[in-house]
Structures are given as C-alpha cells and as structure tokens.
C-alpha cells in the first residue's frame, strides 16, 4: 500500500459484490424453478424430518441451493443440540 492509499484508502465492498451474490442466487433459482414459498415449504419439511431424530437449533440452520459445474447442489448446515436416542429408536 502506498502512502497515497493510506490517506485516500481505495473503496472496498463496492456494489459489484452485491451484484455477484444476487446473481448467484438468482441463477440457481432460475434453473431450479422453485418459488420462494416452495423453498420455504421444502425447508420446513426437511427440518421437521430432522427434528424427529434430533433436537436442532432453529436459529442455526442454513439451507440453500448452490450451483456448481455439475449442476445444482442443496447445501445444508443444521446445528444439532443433541440427538434424541429414545425418539430415534422408537422411530416416532
């Protein structure tokens, strides 16, 4: 970094970052053709299934579609508080 940049720092986090992240989401949804409410429904159903076997933290759930070179992937990260052994065995 030059002395000039110390006094006049270059702007970071320009609007192109917004453009890029919006595009990535947009293109996946164009390809998958699920409406936002269908996405929400899918999310709720998947979480309901997990909740039958484990206690999860609803605020620490990340479930999204992402595009890779081989197609669309469903990426999910769900924070599990503890697996409920009794429920899992009973298969409730």
């Amino acid at each position: 970094m030059s002395l000039f940049d110390r006094f006049f720092p270059p702007r970071t986090g320009g609007s192109k970052d917004d453009a890029k992240s919006r595009l990535k989401i947009l293109l996946v949804h164009d390809q998958v053709d699920l409406t936002p409410s269908q996405m929400d429904a899918m999310r709720a159903e998947i979480l309901a299934v997990i909740a039958r076997y484990a206690e999860i933290e609803a605020t620490k759930v990340d479930l999204r579609l992402e595009r890779s070179t081989d197609g669309v992937n469903l990426i999910s990260s769900v924070a599990v508080r503890r697996v409920n052994a009794r429920l899992a065995v009973a298969g409730v």
Partner: protein, 293 residues
Amino acid sequence: MSECIVITSGKGGVGKTTSTANLGVALALMGKKVAVVDADIGLRNLDVILGLENRIVYDLVHVIEGECKLRQALIKDKRVDGLYLLPAAQTRDKNAVSPENMRDLVKQLKEDFDYILIDCPAGIEQGFKNSIAGADRAIIVTTPEVSAIRDADRIIGLCEAAELPEPMLVVNRFRAKLVKRGDMLNKDDILEILAIPLIGMVPDHEDVIITANRGYPAAFDEKSVVGEAYRRIARRITGETDVPFIALEEPETIWGTMKRWMGMSVGMVAGAAASTPARAPEVQAVAEKEVAS
C-alpha cells in the same frame, strides 16, 4: 469450409446488432467473404448500423417466399470487399419465417460465403428459435450487469439444449474505472458465473454511438479502441490463438500519477532509510508494507 455463427443475448440493448455489424466488417477486412443476416423480422436495425438502409429492395422474407432470388436480396457493402447484408423484413412479423426456412437459407448462403453471421432478436421465442436453427455455433453478448448476465445464462442453457456446441462470450460495455473501484463485475466474476469461454471484451466507449450515428462501424477505423476490440474477436473467430485482450485501462489521471509518484517516493525513502539506523517508526511501517505488497 464455411461457418454460421448466431450473435445472441436474450436481453435487448446489450449490443448484438453492433457486434454483428463490427464482426462482419472485421472479418471482411481480413479477406473473408461474409454475409450478415438480420433475423429481427419486423424490427430491423442491422441495415442502419451498417449504413446500408437506403439500398434495400428485397429482404429475407421475400427470399423465403420465393419472390426474389437470394442474390437479389443481398446488399453488397461497397466499403470493403466480401461483405454482404441480408436485411430483415420491416413490415412482417417473425411468424413469417420458420426454423426450416432458416436452415435452408443458411445452407444456400454457405455455398458462397466463408462466414454467415446471424443477428438474433432479443427474447427466447420464435425469432430466437429461427436464428439458432441454421447456426453452427453461438456468440453470446452480455454486459457486466445483473439483468444481462441472468439472461445470458438462460440463453446459454437454451443453446446447449439445442446442441449448439460451446457458446463463446463477448462482454460489452466494460468500464475499467468502475471495475477498478469495485462497482462493476470484472471479467473473472462474469466467467465464474457463466462458465463459458471468453472470446472478447469491448469497452464502453463513445465511438459506438458516433459510429452508429454515421452508419460506419468502428471496425473500419484503425484508431478506434472499439474497432480494435472487434478486430481481435474476428481474429479469434477465424481460429487464431494467442490474440491478446486489449488493455481496457483508462488513461492515467492526475490522481493516478500522484499516487504512483507518492508510492515511488515512499520506496525511495525506504531505500534511503535502510542505511540509516534511526528512522521514524511511521516511515518504517510504511516501508515494510511497501516491501510486503
């Protein structure tokens, strides 16, 4: 061996017609025999961009309906050998033409031309289907904007579904200054998203407007940076490899010069300071950063 290339984009107003006209001129200047075909039935514009609007007698629909011979409808550009325009009909709509018609037309044109460039209308309906019907490959024009890239992605999918092998990308209206300050998607961002090979970058430049006003494509002008961008794309189309991308940097501003000069002077201070044990901590910190970067 002749080739038919469709110039398409999905979104309107990103520069398909300008690109078709300039690539036609650039290929003809390389000594190729080129037919540029306006497939935008009902909204023709390629004639205007090429400055040939006053010479139209017959058009593409006349040829397809057998009212004239193909040869009669082709307008020869007198400014360069080997460039011909097949204009679109202005008073008909795109349903006057079918994909079958276009395939036949391209087949006929291939007997006489090295390259057939088809200027595709915006959209993904009949006009698009007609335009890609006879094509061997596609060039997708986009601009560094969310809407244009989204549409380009859709078109790439449709080209692949139509078994047009490996579409190539032209990024138009590139503004180095905006990219530099992080307010425009750069080349790598766009290629990461669209994942197709790049065949050219065209700067956003007043030449495009001036040449459109005059009906005299920039590719004719040896000094035009836009013309040079298109001439290089034309070389890549003919299979030339190792054609470098043009430098899209803005000319250096006073700020830039000052910045460079101040950067240099810090380097000099650092160099001088190295031989002096006692130096101000601030200068030392700056000097170390210089070395690190």
